[in-house]
């Protein structure tokens, strides 16, 4: 995903001189191509994220299309209020990139991990939120938010999990995309890094359909409800807190319109306590493939046999 992202950024700047890339002194190798191709459109704003977001707002008001890059722990978390007041309140066309979302920075600890960004941004009006699963979804999401009139957040999580698509999705922003078909009475819904995991689990459990959710806001709620009503249970997987992310979103729909059960498989309300590899931390949070397999099997056993 990262080479794709590097290319997408450079292409966007090359096509449109209004596109400016603002970074808070992060993104060492990611921007090599951008800096080579469009050095004048690259602004290192220093280790000063609050000001960077305000400057992006001013640049957008002045006719530019800023892309604000940072680690998700800082963009959006550190500057949530600037995003709310300087950008979203006026619905300015600013794109925020939160890199390393989830527990990607597994060895650096809680300061660099981010499992609350979706929850924080979902409650702010006007901002699109996308969470691509692979390089195809990344390109699709980036094209969509680049063309948007208002603000957007691109959640860039674990980027080396492999493809889940074979071509660019051709759907409306907000649509869920079926990445595996199946006839089970339950289905898997996932976003970002967890789509790959959901597919692996579906292969284990048999004929389980899997949907990827590249857009958290807006989301095609009608389609979501149709999927829910066609199954007795949805398992929602995300590398994010179970509070306020995709699992919450699906559960809110289910609670409002009823008819199906939702299991939220995300990070419980806790920080990472130990250091280790990405896969170690995912397992520790119960989100490794093996842990999820056991958790899902237990929930299915509790629910009893298909009627």
């Amino acid at each position: 995903m990262r080479p794709t992202f590097s290319r997408l950024l450079a292409d966007a700047a090359r096509r449109d001189e209004r596109v400016l890339l603002l970074t808070g002194d992060h993104g060492y190798a990611l921007f090599d191509e951008f800096r080579r191709v469009c050095p004048g459109q690259y602004l290192n704003c220093g280790v000063a994220e609050q000001n960077m977001v305000g400057v992006a707002a001013g640049l957008a008001k002045g006719g530019f299309r800023p892309i604000v890059y940072g680690l998700a722990a800082f963009i959006p978390m550190r500057v949530l209020e600037q995003i709310k007041m300087d950008v979203c309140f006026e619905s300015l066309p600013v794109i925020f990139i939160g890199d390393g979302a989830g527990v990607v920075y597994s060895t650096l600890g809680a300061s660099h991990q981010c499992t609350e960004d979706l929850a924080a941004l979902r409650a702010i009006p006007h901002i699109n939120i996308v969470s691509p699963a692979d390089r195809y979804e990344l390109e699709y999401c980036f094209d969509q938010i680049l063309a948007a009139d208002g603000p957007s957040y691109l959640r860039f999580g674990k980027a080396d999990r492999g493809d889940v698509h074979t071509a660019l999705p051709r759907v409306e922003l907000g649509d869920l995309i079926q990445v595996r078909s199946g006839s089970a009475s339950y289905a898997f819904i996932a976003t970002g890094s967890m789509v790959r995991t959901a597919i692996e689990l579906a292969e284990h459990f048999g004929s389980v359909p899997v949907w990827s959710v590249p857009a958290i806001t807006p989301v095609n709620e009608k389609q979501l409800l149709e999927i829910g009503r066609a199954h007795r249970q949805l398992f929602v997987m995300e590398e994010h807190s179970v509070h306020g992310g995709l699992g919450s979103l699906v559960a809110e729909s289910a609670a409002t319109s009823g008819g199906f059960r939702v299991a939220r498989l995300g990070i419980e309300n806790r920080f990472s306590d130990l250091c280790g590899s990405y896969s170690f931390l995912m397992s520790r949070h119960g989100l490794g493939t093996n842990e999820l397999r056991d958790r899902i099997a237990a929930i299915l056993a509790d629910a009893g046999p298909d009627k």
Binding site: L43, C45, G46, A48, Q50, N51, M52, V53, G54, V55, A56, A57, G58, L59, A60, K61, G62, G63, F64, E81, Q82, M85, D86, F89, E90
Partner: protein
């Protein structure tokens, strides 16, 4: 005084009328920036075709949104706000809030959360520089607001990006919400600090319109790549004797008696 003269006592009177109509607070915050706004609107801000969103206009950024009633008084003089806006301040369903909101014609940035506006102003100045439009950005920040770290981030950035079309005007009234800046968060010599941050800076009596006029012209005329700053020494509550330097007017609402007494003083000014 004719409309559009930006006569300071008349502006204060409009502020007072609004504050009384809306039973609003923050009167002292508005009174300290009246002359700054009057001089900027009268002779520095280029407003293009005279409409709020005129292309190529200079930007006035009120980063200390708590002084917004003084800005409203100027916008009323420009004809961008109506008498009804003044008379019905804070009425149900009205458009003027107690802190600056970008959706009001003539208000360039939303403030109230302190330490935001200067960065947005820096972005506006940078946009103008990149496009070569010649537009200037005047950003009014409060000294209390300078407690915010984002202000100092913005100052660093403005110098680094050589934003000589930015003028930061500090309303140095030496008060913040709960007391004096000296007691709460000492700011020291702001002119020295601003110079150390790479600004051309001068200090001036913020209620002497001639001195403000000279200071704005002087710092603007310096042909260098440095951003500009004017530290305006002001009096919180300026213009009404019993409000001056009494921080209670950050919070207190007017009564019939204090309203009449304040009006009498302003009419005599």
């Amino acid at each position: 005084m004719p409309k559009g003269a930006f006569h300071a006592p008349a502006l204060r009177k409009t502020v007072l009328e609004m504050a009384f109509a809306g039973s609003s607070v923050h009167i002292g915050c508005a009174f300290s920036i009246v002359e700054i706004l009057a001089v900027l609107y009268r002779s520095h801000l280029r407003l293009g075709n005279g409409q709020p969103k005129s292309a190529g206009r200079d930007y006035l950024v009120l980063s200390k949104g708590h002084g917004v009633m003084a800005l409203y008084a100027c916008l009323y003089e420009l004809g961008w706000l109506q008498r009804d806006d003044i008379d019905r301040y804070f009425g149900d369903g009205t458009r003027l809030k107690g802190l600056s909101d970008v959706h009001v014609p003539g208000v360039e940035v939303t403030s109230g959360s302190l330490g935001h506006g200067l960065s947005v102003g820096v972005g506006l100045a940078l946009a103008a520089k990149r496009k070569g439009t010649g537009q200037r950005c005047y950003a009014i920040v409060g000294d209390g607001e300078m407690n915010e770290g984002a202000i100092w981030e913005a100052l660093l950035f403005a110098a680094q990006f050589r934003l000589d079309n930015l003028m930061v005007i500090v309303d140095e009234n030496r008060f913040q919400a709960m007391g004096t800046t000296a007691d709460i968060m000492m700011l020291g010599d702001l002119e020295v600090k601003l110079r150390a941050f790479g600004f051309d800076a001068v200090t001036v009596d913020g209620h002497d319109e001639n001195a403000l006029e000279r200071a704005f012209s002087e710092v603007k005329s310096a042909a260098n790549a440095r951003p500009k700053a004017v530290v305006a020494r002001t009096v919180k509550g300026k213009g009404v004797s019993f409000m001056e330097n009494d921080n209670i007017w950050h919070y207190t609402r007017l009564t019939d008696a204090t309203y009449r007494e304040a009006l009498r003083e302003l009419d005599a000014a």
